[in-house]
Symmetry: none
């Protein structure tokens, strides 16, 4: 079965945004064992969109379209697909009811007139309820071809795909495909690949596909087989071998588990509370921890101490340390971690201080220099990092490495 992706949106043609949806969908389709030969981006133009949809349906079995389902006049994806596939639009009572409920609970009490066109559905289409927006997903089937229409915003697209489209496509795919993720943090992409070269070279079934994420490398091990049992049997030894080679750098083997989830799970396991003391990351580290449902069990409070005065006031960093070594130093990071744990009366503290740029760098302390410290069971650990990239990238990397150091410190001291 061949799948093709069509992204609809002028903002992509103008380069206003990066097409992350396509990467997500391509990865998911690979996971399903579906072949993909083309990805296309086209604007909200009736004629060109129709041409693209016709071509895609001609050469592929399933076409997944994203974007252009909004309430505005620009949004044409549904109208065009309905016409190309000969499935005229009709109002869907169920969708209209959901829209009314959505607006009733929302901020905007009045439903703008143009929104109602979102309740129109091609006759015979499968309607996928969208819990995060007003545009439902749609599956149009005709003459052995399938068009799947999904909203463009990732917060709507991802849950719709994962919850409804993925199972739908899985049923269409007769072969059993089983894959397991091995998530690695703290090792560079090229190093991961170098250490797996022998495995990757001889791979046929299962295959090993590396995905580079910010500060992480995810390896997807995928096997094809006739039965679930057989596929599992093929995947297992490869995952075991990867875990053996990377040891504690592997933080999870579960698809849906993020780094912060793994950290929160460890904290829960060892019944530890944690606090954060952040300078250059300014709350992002705590923000990621709190993103884990149930984080309140282990995280009660955090400190954002951007100014030196705040480092002294809340974390009791000594005046002489700040003066002698500066705010960005292993000494300050260490005192932040210790002071944070005491101030919050928590078992563990992780502290970050660094120079995110673009200003503030010197020859001795360049932009990207970050110290991360943990304090746990009377033991402080400090690590120095030199990150590349702009302010945002430096901060992102600092957060990932702080979560990783926290994770490793817990393992080291509690296991």
């Amino acid at each position: 079965m061949v799948v093709e992706l069509v992204s609809v949106g002028t903002e992509l043609l103008l380069g206003n945004i990066v097409n992350t949806n396509t990467q997500y969908l391509a990865e998911q389709c690979a996971l399903l064992g579906l072949s993909m030969y083309h990805q296309v981006v086209v604007g909200d133009n009736q004629e060109r969109l129709a041409e693209v949809v016709r071509t895609a349906l001609g050469r592929s079995d399933v076409v997944i379209l994203t974007g252009g389902l909004g309430p505005t006049e620009d949004d044409l994806t549904k109208e065009v697909c309905a016409e190309v596939m000969g499935m005229p639009l009709k109002e869907d009572a169920h969708t209209r009811k959901r829209m009314e409920a959505y607006f009733k609970n929302g901020i905007f009490k009045v439903i703008p007139d143009n929104n109602w066109k979102q309740a129109l559905v091609p006759e015979g289409a499968i309607v996928l309820d969208n819990d995060n927006g007003t545009a439902p997903g749609l599956i149009l089937e005709k003459d052995g071809k399938t068009a799947i229409l999904l909203p463009g915003p990732p917060s709507e697209l991802y849950p719709l795909f994962k919850g409804q489209v993925f199972p739908y496509l899985k049923k269409k795919q007769p072969e059993i495909l089983r894959s397991q993720m091995v998530k690695i943090c703290g090792v560079g992409e090229s190093q991961v690949e170098a250490e797996l070269l022998d495995l990757i070279d001889k791979q046929t079934n299962p295959t090993i596909a590396p995905y580079a994420k910010t500060g992480e490398v995810h390896l997807r091990v995928t096997a094809r087989a006739k039965t679930e049992e057989e596929a599992k049997h093929l995947v297992k030894p490869v995952v075991k071998e990867i875990k053996r080679r990377f040891g504690d750098s592997v933080y999870s083997v579960r698809e849906e588990e993020t780094l912060e989830m793994a950290v929160v799970k460890l904290l829960q396991k060892y019944e530890l509370t944690v606090t954060t003391a952040e300078s250059c990351t300014g709350g992002l580290l705590a923000g990621r921890l709190v993103n884990v449902p149930g984080a309140s069990e282990v995280f009660r409070e955090g400190f954002i101490t951007y100014a030196n005065k705040a480092k002294r006031k809340y974390l009791d960093v000594s005046k002489s340390t700040l003066k002698k070594y500066g705010a960005v130093s292993p000494e300050t990071a260490r005192e932040m971690a210790i002071g944070g744990a005491f101030a919050a009366d928590s078992d563990v503290c992780v502290a970050v201080t660094g120079i995110a740029g673009p200003e503030g760098g010197t020859e001795e302390k360049p932009v990207g220099l970050v110290y991360i410290a943990t304090y746990i069971k009377d033991k402080a650990t400090v690590k120095k990092f030199q990150f590349k990239g702009n302010r945002e990238k430096v901060r992102e990397m600092a957060v990932v490495r702080a979560l990783d150091l926290l994770r490793r410190s817990i393992l080291e001291n509690c296991r």
Copy 2:
């Protein structure tokens, strides 16, 4: 002049990497005032690649291809384009010499045999020297159509494009394109469009294109003209009219200015310091403020008070308020904002408390209920929001609305 982008690479079809090259090239082409109607991704397959190139050259004037110029057998872009355009390959002495020099200075002293195919050039093509790799860029011109072949690695692509392709394309483009962004916060996408329907309906030059961001709507007003002056003249009255209609909801008319930048600029303008008191957003709000270079001037410290105890300890929220109204209430939000400003000795405080979910919701206080409060010049303002979506979405929306309420409170009290 119409440009089309073709990315060649199996790793894109598998979703191993995000297609950032396309975003970069699309933005550059928009900047040059070139029209773009299609972007295509195709794998290293002779037949399919040839078909894609033929289609692209048929409907567009210039086709920019990236990837598939490497030394391996998989790399076919040059061979396919040469054949489709009828420009047979010949060894280029200049390129061969550069390759020899590149390898002499590099890590690999011996030139792998297959590398020599990179010295082959379609007859009559313009060769673009690549200082960061062995594959030169190529411009193929024939019958009024142009194919531009560039290497895929960003470290080779960007300098080649900026240094040689951009000037080449600029010469081909006589028309001037000028665009301005109008950024709106606190008004829904469909409401924005409803209020602009008359302008959008009659638009030809300039055009108005809406982009929905999380909690924001960006409008790009774009004019084409013979001169820079004339284009500016066309854009100006439209931007002015949009600003008149949306008033304070317009937070910026600058492409690169984010909501948090606009907030920091306002704080700087009125010489105010700010602090944050966050519960459900857990540091994300402060994290966005700190993302602005130079935020240290206005932001010194922030509070993450996830637990009730922390709200009392740092923000002096009264025990009776928490008991009587609960942590998620207008009363608590108000006390958090007042207490935060006093504790941090700052001029302004913005506080957030809510239920991000997935657990913790009740009928009276459902998931997505968030109270945001500001305190400035002895005046507290509290707003209630009911956000839709998963935990991440609720928190993201809360951050955007908190930044917006902060912005509006400053305008209201200081202007």
